[in-house]
Symmetry: C2
């Protein structure tokens, strides 16, 4: 055969397992380029103020990490360590300080419902984490702008947005489809339904057209815009489905279980599924690479980049509002 066909390339036996591991750094670098280019429109380095009112070493570590990322990328960061009881007044002062572009509060502070109250004290137009009720309401209702003229984008919470940026990077979002429907046809399982990440993430993905199975220990809920994604926002239905029903039909599986002991049952994955872990624990064991086409083991670096992006977006929104107000008074 080889003699009569000089161009014949000898087959080299079975290929190795084929899983592309995508690091958060790769995605973050691309986003940082965008951030840097937007930053050039600013006449001074934007200032992010972090409030620390606890002795939680994890919170301090996160604060240090935020500072490092800010200063490396042309942002200023100021950590203000205050007493629990003075926190509200300090936030209120930062709210009206024109030099402050973004505010982040390192929770837990009181460790109870008062923390949710404090979360809402931060001015909406400086809330880099996108946790103000209005932002959350818009997110769940699939309302993407703050104004009727659609010039000011609503802010999305950092971790769910980081997952979305990763899904865009790895082309799960199909850019050939219209904006807002780019996940149509995709089935996604999210293992985690916390108020901070899992539930908003499931809602965002379903609002973009995906059929989403949201899994936690109480059961599986189905988030979807329905047949032909004709509904303008997602609906949620309780199901009696089990993990073994939904995972084999899922194109993407996203995990965020905050436990060292938890390992996702990779034998349920369909061939060539895409797997993303946003937990700080490794929710997938190495066998994931035997099944997945793409595996994203962590997302932290993207989350912090998205935080910078939110600072810029807030600044742009504030500038827009100011122009409108100046226009009115002129």
């Amino acid at each position: 055969m080889s003699d009569s066909n000089p161009g014949f390339v000898e087959p080299t036996g079975p290929a190795p397992a084929t899983c592309k591991v995508v690091s958060a750094a790769t995605v973050a670098d691309k986003l940082l380029q965008e951030v840097k280019s937007s930053l050039q429109k600013f006449d001074r380095a934007p200032l992010l103020v972090g409030f620390l009112a606890n002795n939680d070493p994890a919170a301090r570590m996160y604060a240090n990490w935020t500072e490092k990322t800010c200063t490396q990328n042309g942002f200023k960061f100021e950590l203000r360590e205050v007493d629990k009881e003075d926190l509200e007044d300090n936030i209120l002062a930062a709210n009206v300080d024109d030099n402050v572009d973004g505010i982040i509060v390192y929770f837990p502070v009181f460790g109870n419902r008062q923390d949710q109250y404090l979360q809402q004290v931060t001015a909406m137009n400086k809330d880099v984490e996108g946790l103000s009720h209005k932002y959350l309401f818009n997110m769940y209702q699939n309302i993407r702008f703050l104004d009727a003229a659609q010039t000011q984008k609503s802010i999305l919470p950092c971790t769910p947005l980081a997952v979305i940026k990763i899904l865009e990077h790895i082309r799960v979002y199909n850019s050939i489809l219209p904006y807002g429907n780019r996940l149509f046809g995709k089935t996604i399982t999210v293992v985690n339904r916390s108020e901070i990440v899992g539930r908003p993430l499931a809602a965002l993905l379903a609002n973009d057209g995906a059929s989403v199975y949201s899994v936690d220990i109480t059961g599986i809920e189905h988030f979807t815009r329905g047949e032909g994604i004709r509904k303008r926002q997602h609906q949620v239905h309780s199901t009696e489905l089990k993990l073994e029903d939904v995972v084999p039909r899922s194109d993407v599986v996203i995990t965020g279980v905050p436990s060292k002991d938890y390992k996702f049952p990779t034998h349920l994955l369909k061939e060539g599924a895409i797997c993303i872990n946003f937990s700080s624990e490794k929710n997938f064991d190495p066998s994931v690479k035997e099944k997945a086409s793409i595996y994203v083991p962590a997302i932290g670096k993207v989350t912090i980049t998205v935080l910078l992006r939110n600072i810029l977006r807030l600044a742009e929104n504030r500038r827009g509002t100011k122009q409108v107000e100046e226009g009115k008074s002129a």
Copy 2:
């Protein structure tokens, strides 16, 4: 609600059915840009010679259409009408004529196995349709180059290649995955298993990592590179599966049934499936738009553009061979 939230955008009720219809012209235009840019490297307009040895009006129409596309895009086309019995000699003359860059024979000529013989008379390095046995062999064996140094790409048959170019355009090929594995995780049903289009197409898609169900009236065959796409080329397995088993799990459905009466059962499609028809008959009725995320109703314009692309590739391959030979004799 609206009063206290001035930015609130009123929901506007259920959205309309969401299916993006992609025309072949859009994909063809993009490919034509590439063709035009490659064409600038040539010192004269490449010449495609078409041989017509029958009175088939469809063949003549195709010839006219080829001529139009050639002349519109900087290629020369010459239709040589010859007697059946003189065809072989005429092909042989064109094979060795340095002015001829590509040869296309409009079949049927004898309408029997002699046509397959004639198909192999065209010199491999002028075979724009990619029907020489060596090209077909390479395609099925997943051998992508003609030479060990991998400088000369093997030629692919026009219609299957056109479908692939469309799948690339609509992002079914995931460019984040390594070349050769970009369909990993995708399930595709191809309704048609002709030697000209359906079987080569199923093989090409499976070689690129997809799990392909190839459907014809005799049954359904499964083309796949196996678990973890570890095999270096596809294998084929007969199945007892039915259309209602494979379509609901298919991300993409490709039809090519040459019959006015055939309509694909769209109720079997999964929500958001991608549908492509390469038959000149409309294999999907309008209900496809109620289910599909993307629908490509026809591919003809892409096929003819791919033909031009193959002419250029052949010319580049010939130039490469010449350089190697000149190098040897020097």
